[in-house]
């Protein structure tokens, strides 16, 4: 029904899809699995016309098609439900569903017949909704049903669902599976993009596994099992295993007790976490992205509104709840952020100016006339120390941060945080988008910091990295700790299963 042939797509210097080949047979439920960043969403967004491929072809029903926009895809019978719902919250269910294909004439929107048609589809596929309800009042599960109805209303024969169960409760997931089965009975073809292996095994007919932008395998679901899929998903050539001495562990430098973090809209992302990080050790948190790691680190760094946090955070025995980012820095908590472009760097500023972010307001950087004026020499000194100490290239402190490669940008950030001699370091995805040589360097720096007595909390989606660097390893799943393993002995499969299954 749908075939992607040699699809290649590049975003900047990231190769999101590398000669991807996927064949989806009609009337099946086909799962595409892989970790975050594997390229699954990108490939499907190309199929739906959101992106155009740099090279390759899309074949629909045996014919090569040029899909330049969602409009073209919809005309071919392809529908997509995105991970982040594309619904206009202030409008009703009916209005959202018919948007773009409104019944009635150009002069009169016929919402009544729309509602009737929706009810009919609702019946057929057992997707219960109230057409006249504003979307913002609906639960997440209900919103998803609206998204499905949107595609069905446009006569989709192929439905692409991106991480459909990410936001559902277990009960809703069961209902959801029922819906998928019914669609298959009705002759529809379904593609689900997911990283949840248990669901893949429960509902799909065929599986395609992707990793680092490439397809690494395609199997019949009945012929495989979770362990094999996990290995295909996360395994890679064993990279450099970091040589590290035994840790000299001290007292607890960072303690979490019953920590929960909510989003601004009240959804719980971090659920009752309790653990500690002692000085001189690296505690790793492994997990598929989107399981609460981001919120955890931001809450610890002081970048989340106190109203959204319950529980206790202690640094060096002292309760730091409610203290802002600046105070936490002053207490010795440094942070290497997950998104270096958004959080970590002022891209239009020079390397020198970036090197003082966080310490710019006090001596030795702000030193003259009552600590108001910046000491240019001190800035240059610091910039040079960081650039040379951390091998940042090109070695020109006047360049804008934007001009550096990802790896060098990351080295700059790490050097900057290293230089405040932190007692606690929060690190998230330290080597994402970084070249091999820089990865090794960064790993060595983290170990060296650990040996100076720093307590490091390392979040990483790269299993190799987090297992080789951590002294203790926690697995996070849906905001909770799914388990703790000894990184020296745990197998990748064991960890992969905890990451994707939660137990």
């Amino acid at each position: 029904m749908l075939e992607l042939r040699q699809i290649t797509k590049r975003f900047g210097d990231v190769l999101a899809n590398d000669h991807v080949n996927i064949v989806v047979k009609p009337g099946t439920i086909h799962a595409i699995v892989g970790e975050n960043g594997a390229g699954k969403s990108t490939a499907m967004r190309i199929a739906y016309g959101f992106y155009t491929p740099d090279s390759g072809e899309i074949v629909v029903d045996g014919q090569v098609r040029d899909i330049k926009s969602p409009h073209d895809a919809i005309a071919l019978g392809i529908g997509m439900v995105h991970q982040h719902f594309m619904l206009v919250e202030t409008m009703t269910v009916a209005e959202n569903i018919v948007l773009g294909a409104e019944p009635g004439s150009a002069f009169a929107l016929d919402l009544k017949s729309a509602a009737a048609q929706i009810r009919q589809l609702s019946e057929e596929f057992k997707l219960a909704v109230n057409p006249n309800e504003p979307v913002e009042h609906l639960s997440v599960g209900q919103q998803q049903r609206v998204e499905l109805l949107k595609a069905l209303y446009r006569h989709a024969r192929l439905l692409i669902l991106d991480e459909p169960t990410a936001v559902l409760t277990p009960l809703e997931v069961e209902e959801f599976f029922g819906i998928l089965r019914r669609m298959r009975e009705q002759g529809k073809t379904v593609i689900i993009i997911t990283h949840k292996l248990s669901e893949v095994l429960a509902i799909s007919d065929e599986v395609t596994v992707m990793r680092d932008g490439k397809v690494v395998g395609g199997v019949q679901t009945k012929d495989t099992n979770a362990a094999e899929l996990a290995r295909m998903m996360v395994g890679r050539e064993v990279l450099l295993r970091v040589e590290k001495p035994e840790p000299h562990v001290g007292g607890p430098a960072l303690e979490l007790r019953n920590l929960s973090v909510l989003t601004a809209t009240g959804a719980k992302r971090v659920d009752n976490l309790t653990f500690e990080v002692r000085s001189g050790e690296i505690v790793g948190i492994a997990g598929v992205e989107g399981n609460g790691q981001t919120e955890l680190i931001e809450a610890l760094a002081g970048l989340v509104e106190p109203a959204q946090i319950t529980g206790e955070i202690r640094a060096d025995g002292r309760n730091i709840n409610g203290l802002g980012a600046r105070v936490r820095r002053e207490l010795g908590i440094a942070h290497i952020p997950e998104d270096r472009h958004r959080r970590g760097l002022l891209l239009d500023f020079s390397l020198a100016e970036n090197s003082i972010l966080g310490v710019h307001y006090r001596p030795p950087i702000a030193a003259y006339a009552g600590n108001i004026f910046l000491d240019e020499n001190a800035i240059q000194r610091r910039a040079t120390e960081i650039i040379e100490g951390f091998d940042v290239r090109p070695r020109n402190a006047a360049l804008p941060a934007r001009a550096l490669s990802g790896g060098n940008q990351q080295k700059l950030i790490i050097g900057r945080e290293y230089h405040v001699n932190p007692k606690v370091l929060l690190v998230s995805q330290p080597t994402r988008g970084v070249d091999i040589g820089a990865i090794e360097f960064i790993h060595r720096q983290l170990v060296s910091l650990r040996d100076k007595g720093c307590a490091i909390l390392l979040v990483s989606a790269e299993l190799e990295e987090v297992t080789s660097l951590s002294d203790r390893l926690l697995i996070i799943h849906e905001g909770r700790i799914a388990g703790e393993v000894d990184p020296k002995v745990a197998t990748l499969e064991e960890i992969g299963l905890l990451m994707t299954r939660g137990h």
């Binding site: 959101f50 969602p70 919809i74 594309m86 948007l99």
Partner: protein, 307 residues
């Protein structure tokens, strides 16, 4: 005695509110599609000047008599459309900052009428006077009905047609519209061009309906009051109409009713305080003090697809 005051006050309110209503509703289409429109002032000026100039030309040079104001009206609308087109291309195609571009249009429109006026009429920016019987209909009743019909039509278009649905979607969540196969840029162009049409119409009424010529900087900030009314009216047609009537009323009061409303001490309320009312109200509403003021969520953000 009181009755005479009230009647003429209502008539004044209608006449003064009309250009506001037209411009504000134009701004409605633009902002509902997600494009900030502070260039209403400029579009009104374009419409006012062109309408007056063309009406005068049609009347005295071409001798078209009673048809002149209608030709002028059409010309005014066209002028608003052209200015809006420039604004639309700059903001939508070139993704320029909408506020900066709007400010540019306003500055441009302080100059262009005067420039062309000086060239065509050898004046310092005004057009020559047009005889009273060759202007747009003057009766407040006629105008009131026309405005009501227009508001009703706009309300209908916005809420009861596919076009209106798509326009609103594009202003709230362009990604959703894009995913549904709707062209975001096409709808935004429509919104801005409609703003030009209506604002041009409002300006035209100002010069050949409410008065009989165009003078330099004739709108005197009305485009901004229209924008204020739009915000005060929470971007909804009927509420915007009411806001315009309120602001028109305050202007009518400040002109006509000197000496009617008094302070407890017996002195007149200075006219400046009455003039301030629309602006203070808008600030208060925008800060959320009177109900929640939620603009279209995607307002002011150029839509970019590839992430």
């Amino acid at each position: 005695m009181r009755d005479v005051f009230t009647l003429s006050l209502i008539a004044s309110t209608i006449r003064l509110a009309t250009p506001l209503v037209l411009a504000a509703l134009g701004g409605l289409f633009s902002e509902r599609s997600g494009v900030i429109n502070i260039a209403l002032e400029g579009k009104m000026l374009a419409g006012a000047f062109t309408a007056a100039a063309v009406t005068y030309a049609a009347d005295s040079k071409l001798g078209m008599g009673n048809a002149s104001p209608w030709i002028g009206l059409l010309a005014g609308v066209l002028a608003g459309l052209i200015i809006a087109a420039i604004y639309a291309v700059t903001c939508i195609k070139f993704k320029a900052d909408q506020v900066v571009s709007g400010a540019a249009i306003n500055i441009l429109m302080i100059g262009i009428p005067g420039f062309l006026g000086g060239a065509l009429f050898l004046s310092s920016g005004s057009t020559p006077q047009i005889p009273k019987d060759h202007l747009l209909p003057q009766s407040p009743a006629v105008i009131a009905i026309a405005i009501l019909v227009l508001v009703a039509a706009i309300w209908y278009v916005l809420y009861k047609t596919p076009f209106g649905l798509r326009l609103r979607a594009v202003g709230e969540k362009p990604e959703a519209a894009d995913a549904a196969g709707v062209s975001v840029s096409r709808l935004r162009y429509s919104g801005v061009l409609l703003a030009g049409v209506l604002a041009g119409l409002g300006g035209a009424y100002l010069s050949i309906g409410q008065s009989s010529l165009f003078t330099r900087n004739m709108t005197a900030g009305r485009g901004f009051i229209a924008l204020a009314a739009l915000i005060f009216g929470k971007w909804r047609p009927v509420q915007t109409l009411l806001a315009c009537l309120l602001f028109g009323f305050t202007e009518a009061v400040s002109i006509q009713m000197q000496g009617v409303f008094k302070l407890p001490s017996g002195e007149d309320i200075p006219v400046q305080f009455i003039q301030m009312v629309p602006y203070v109200l808008t600030i208060v509403v925008l800060a959320g003090f009177i109900g929640s003021s939620r603009p279209p969520r995607a307002l002011g953000i150029p839509y970019q697809k590839e992430k």
